[in-house]
Symmetry: C2
Subunit: 555 residues, 2 copies
Amino acid sequence: MTSDSRRVVIVGASAAGMRCASRLARLRPDWTVTVVERRRVFSYAACGLPYVLSGDVDDADALRRTSDGALRDAAFFASVKGVTVLTGRSATEVDGGARSLTLARPEGELEHLGWDDLVLATGASPRRLPAQPRHPRVRSFHVVEDLEPLHAGLRRGEITRVVIVGAGLVGCELSEAFRALWGVEVTLLEAASGPLPGVADAEIGAVIAATLRRNGVRLRTGAAVEAIAAFDDRVEVAAGGERCTADLAIVAVGVTPEVALAHSAGVALGITGAIAVDDRLATNVPHIWAAGDCIEVRRLPDGRPLHLPLGSLANRQGRVLADVLAGRDDRFPGAVGAVAAKVFDLNVAATGLTRTRAEAEGIAARSVWVTAHDRAHYWPEAAEIAIHLVYEAGSRRVLGVQAVGAGEVAKRVDVATAYIARGATVTELAGLEHAYAPPFAPAIDPLAAAAFAAENQEDGLEARPPDEPFTGARVLDVRHPGERTKHPLPEATAMPLEELRAALPLPGRDRWLAVCERGARSAEAARLVRSSGGSASYLGGGMQLRAMMGLESER
Amino acid sequence: MTSDSRRVVIVGASAAGMRCASRLARLRPDWTVTVVERRRVFSYAACGLPYVLSGDVDDADALRRTSDGALRDAAFFASVKGVTVLTGRSATEVDGGARSLTLARPEGELEHLGWDDLVLATGASPRRLPAQPRHPRVRSFHVVEDLEPLHAGLRRGEITRVVIVGAGLVGCELSEAFRALWGVEVTLLEAASGPLPGVADAEIGAVIAATLRRNGVRLRTGAAVEAIAAFDDRVEVAAGGERCTADLAIVAVGVTPEVALAHSAGVALGITGAIAVDDRLATNVPHIWAAGDCIEVRRLPDGRPLHLPLGSLANRQGRVLADVLAGRDDRFPGAVGAVAAKVFDLNVAATGLTRTRAEAEGIAARSVWVTAHDRAHYWPEAAEIAIHLVYEAGSRRVLGVQAVGAGEVAKRVDVATAYIARGATVTELAGLEHAYAPPFAPAIDPLAAAAFAAENQEDGLEARPPDEPFTGARVLDVRHPGERTKHPLPEATAMPLEELRAALPLPGRDRWLAVCERGARSAEAARLVRSSGGSASYLGGGMQLRAMMGLESER
């Protein structure tokens, strides 16, 4: 440890800023680490906010506490971490030459804080729609201060109808919060063709949409907002040719990086509009660094610039930056973009590129999807999950994985993320090793099963293309009679897989779409039909089947 | 697809054999694929057998069914998979020159089966102790036929006391089965110093041992069996200076590969005594191949030969071998050795090397362990897990990970396995990206937290060495008063972390061992004590603390 004391000033006391400050104060106890924060309440888990509204978490205070129950306030950081936090100050200007930061107090008086190194951890703020009026009935949901007006209105019964604009992660989580705990009438508007665009392709989006609708959410897709009009007693949102009246509109259409301070310092932005940094999180201005939701990161493995405002990444960046400032060789190489969300009883997780996104970037993407049990199928708590695997044709490089279901999906997406980050192929993913025991996983993990399906598809056994109309082929239902009774397919030709081999070749020249409950038998059936000279593809399982046929709501 | 039809004969109808047969019949529908099996019941999930005994799974038949409910019998494989299974035949001899396999029926008559390619999937059988008598009261637990005598004896009340020899995966699972459903008095004998030797080091073993004891299992470690004497009315097992009397002894001390047939064919064995194969699963004899529990595999990443009889690997090998036989370029590169088990309410998973094993191999291994929540700590269903991370000093290469707890551990071990397989360092593991949402994971995944602790240890902040006596240092208890009341440490100096900084330097020249509930505060405390000139290490959390102090049973 050197003794040359330095002054490090960090702007923004969220995940990136506080993680960087705390670690730096540990690594360099002789340095002065000061964090400037414009709000009074800081260092809370913002990702937990929807769960306070939903009642899953009792109290917003829980989000500010450590796992040991200590409140992360300024006194805590001073006594435990050795970090000074100056709250209620807005950082308004950087003088890079004089290495000074101008702070404005709410009353308007200015302070100047000298620094040797400056860290911009200014975060992001909710994106506003062009049509968005500034009115108490038109809100965003981003910070802890956004909770109280909602809670108050809900408790007083003044909020019984809500329009949520944007079916992204926050929009879906809020839909559940409003419905499940408060019984509010929720209309969820999404400009794209399905929920969680950018996270889920149509195959998985259909399952999420079915879950939202089954739980009473009025989901409207392809519904871009045309106008929002706020009145004393209501708000009206026009979207997709429909006009919704509600007590409240919440606009949840993503965030934009907070870059005003960076701009004042001459810090360059990247093509996404977020602060450009290298893998040591240095900006173009010497001794000015940046981390968290305000920066642009490199997408792994291809290095494309991306704005990826995720709390988990902000934490990692804060740690890396502390190491770098302390003189260590640490790097933030980028991120694949793994995300997760709970949508009612459906677990959702995804990583990497959707097929839609890959195609938009000119990548020759293909995909498969499978339905499988998350544990040994005979284990009492086994639950079905569906995995959608996106890969590049030819190279077979894994591009992305999406998973949904009542079972464990987030950690399977983590495994996929480790493969995608290093540019692995579906063949490598097919060889993944997993800790197998019936209470935790089947002998063949669903992720490997999806990779097998992708390999089979490259061998010519095509999964049904998702943009093919469901009526484009004759449906060959290879399920057992009991399964058919539970979820009937009236138009289908019923023939259990066990009987198919003896019945081949099937008469006629139809193109067949084989379906079953999990995609394994239907794949087998399609292969049998093809090997007997027929034409067939298959559907990846009952979850998609029911979602795509709109049968899910009957469950 | 070529039209030159080949005859492939596979000996053994378990995971490797049937997976190979089914896929090969798919890839090469014009070939003849025949499986020879000496038992009548085959192709069941043997890993599920303990859960039939425990009542978690209603019926052993469930283990033979597909997830769609079809029974995997010979008729199923014939009609659905196009595979012929000849049951009730023992393969007794291979004539490599004539390419013929001799089969013996139970009545003694011999058959000869010609082959172009022969696959040995002969599996493994329970290892016997030198002292082990052949007697109905001394049993193994390996195949479905082992269930009925136990069920019958338990139902009739003839089995009320059981001695299980070997606290490996099967021994621990059986302990739970006998205790939880049947209330049998279980004595579990283990020659090593803790349960699951080879899977868990002392830190994790202590937690597993505490769980077994809390659930009423009489665990005796360091208790090598000296003698087993079986009588008409009882069995007596002498071990570790103690003599246990019981109605039944179950010997669960691992398995040995079945290699007699391989021997008759001139197939070479590896140093582990299992069949030696290359990464295409070819033996030294042309056109004789092997897969499953009878083969030796390469350990990843270092290539050391290993006998790793796991159902998940057998499945993968069967698939790879089908590809190879069909003329494809597929490989089985080896395995890290990921395993999982449920021990009462404790989830256990591990991968790679234990520190004990690494040291025995001459590797300079170090380790750290942390206790953390498996989800955001404020999420209502968050559960504590402990992770023990073993790595090589200097290179910082990750050698192994062990994890236990009520929360999700198996999939975290899967993520670790992906890193270990490619020789990643703790620094790379510290940079792991995970799908973060409060219901699924904390913002910093426990696996990353363990990697952070390892990096900190390499920076000089040592976790307590596990072989250091607990009384070797003064205990500095930095927990809050409420935590101390719940789990008191009578001998400790109590000082909440918040107060420590102001109290430094601590008086005296003692070496301090800082303890807390999750290892984060104690690490911080140790660092503070050291930075003030004192000497301190820390303990990785309350789960180990209580287990090592034997307090777990008081919960």
